[in-house]
Subunit: 249 residues, 2 copies
């Protein structure tokens, strides 16, 4: 009789989301979860289902996403990244693997997440940065965006900042920090929080860009939040500018 020895394995993955219909497994479209499970099957011979710390949308990237899975596999955990990367497409890579407590769950146990949203802010688009940045041609006033961001930090009902149709028991979320980093023509917004509503980071970005363009005043953010009405916030910024950077436990 074979004794089962189930391990819980926690991995950090990085991917370029451009070619994928998001994270979550789908029957008829390439997804990051689908690719990883396919390769786990190839390497271990087992049908393994992986848990992701967040379900990124089509076109969204990740450089520090935590995932986990439980399985009785013989390959040593430190060899796992090499074994999986050898079969994964070049736009997905495992960059760390460790044994975790058997109860650990990458989504349920996440204490917070950090995303970065990149904007390329100059008159003409940048072919070099096109896969990872939203091109905004008109000059942004980043100082105004920083002011506006102060109203977003904290715990609020973010109903105005979620895609219509998404329903949750509560729309209250807590944003820990928002920082803007300028580097030549690139403007990066780093935002961390406990968790986010569907499309929340992209709608915050779209709204802050309206502030940076002078279409909205920084103080208006207060009223937009209070209204809980999606129509009052800005547009959903494009997926390609968004990257999941880190998950905290």
């Amino acid at each position: 009789m074979k004794v089962m020895n189930v391990k819980n394995i926690k991995m950090i993955i990085e991917y370029k989301g451009t070619r994928y219909s998001g994270w979550q497994r789908q029957t008829n479209a390439p997804t990051v979860q689908g690719e990883i499970e396919k390769v786990l099957y190839k390497v271990t011979g087992q049908k393994i289902s992986v848990n992701g710390s967040s379900r990124t949308d089509a076109g969204v990237h990740a450089c520090g996403k935590c995932i986990n899975f439980r399985a009785d596999i013989s390959i040593p955990v430190e060899r796992l990244p090499f074994a999986l990367n050898a079969h994964l497409p070049k736009d997905i890579a495992v960059i760390d693997a460790q044994l975790a407590h058997i109860d650990f769950h990458s989504r349920y146990h996440a204490k917070g997440k950090k995303y970065v949203y990149n904007i390329y802010n100059r008159r003409f688009p940048s072919p070099i940065h096109m896969d990872y940045c939203w091109h905004v041609a008109k000059k942004l006033d980043v100082q105004r965006m920083r002011e506006a961001a102060q109203y977003i930090i904290g715990s609020h009902d973010f109903g105005a900042f979620k895609s219509t149709g998404a329903s949750n028991p509560s729309d209250v979320r807590t944003v820990y920090t928002i920082e803007f980093i300028e580097n030549d023509d690139m403007i990066s917004m780093e935002i961390s929080g406990k968790s986010f509503l569907y499309n929340m980071v992209r709608i915050i970005m779209g709204t802050l860009v309206d502030v940076g363009l002078g279409k909205k005043n920084p103080e208006e953010i207060k009223d937009i939040i209070l209204s809980k009405d999606r129509k009052n916030a800005g547009k959903t910024a494009p997926a390609n500018g968004l990257m999941l950077k880190e998950v905290y436990y």
Copy 2:
């Protein structure tokens, strides 16, 4: 009788070289020059031949490449980037256009060029950076690479640092500066010089990586240069890490 009014137009272009067989027009392969001339024909109705400041190889990128062409066109020069970008593929963009003196030639009049070569230096490859970086898995000692670079700066016969087969009246070239910039796992070498031999920047990079890995001593660079023998230098670093950053006039 129509009076000819030939202008000399100088443009700055940016491109992601991944999909192209280099800069120079070819009959049976997509090239950056070929795409630009095709779009110039579409926009002006004229067969225009453009001069590039350098012939980048397949897979090499550019973010500040100067090109020029002479033609009698009616479209105002300041509208040209918009008109061309509307038709160019997303991985090529015109980011500036100006009238130049009728004699100006983007290649013959270049006083110098700056290239940047990017390395991603960590154990596992980075999907996010894969198109623009050479992945070097073993830890590099950048301080050793900086020491070695001091022997390259200046005027030398760089015969050891050109691809075999390439023949020039003289292999003497002048390297102005080499700087290494470290940013997390990314190591960027910025190198400027009057002009470079075929594959010279990539062979310098390959050789300095040997120094950074401890396979060569910094002082050996002196002997490699003196030998004028390609076999003594390191391998040619991959094309995707190289970017033409700026051309000086």
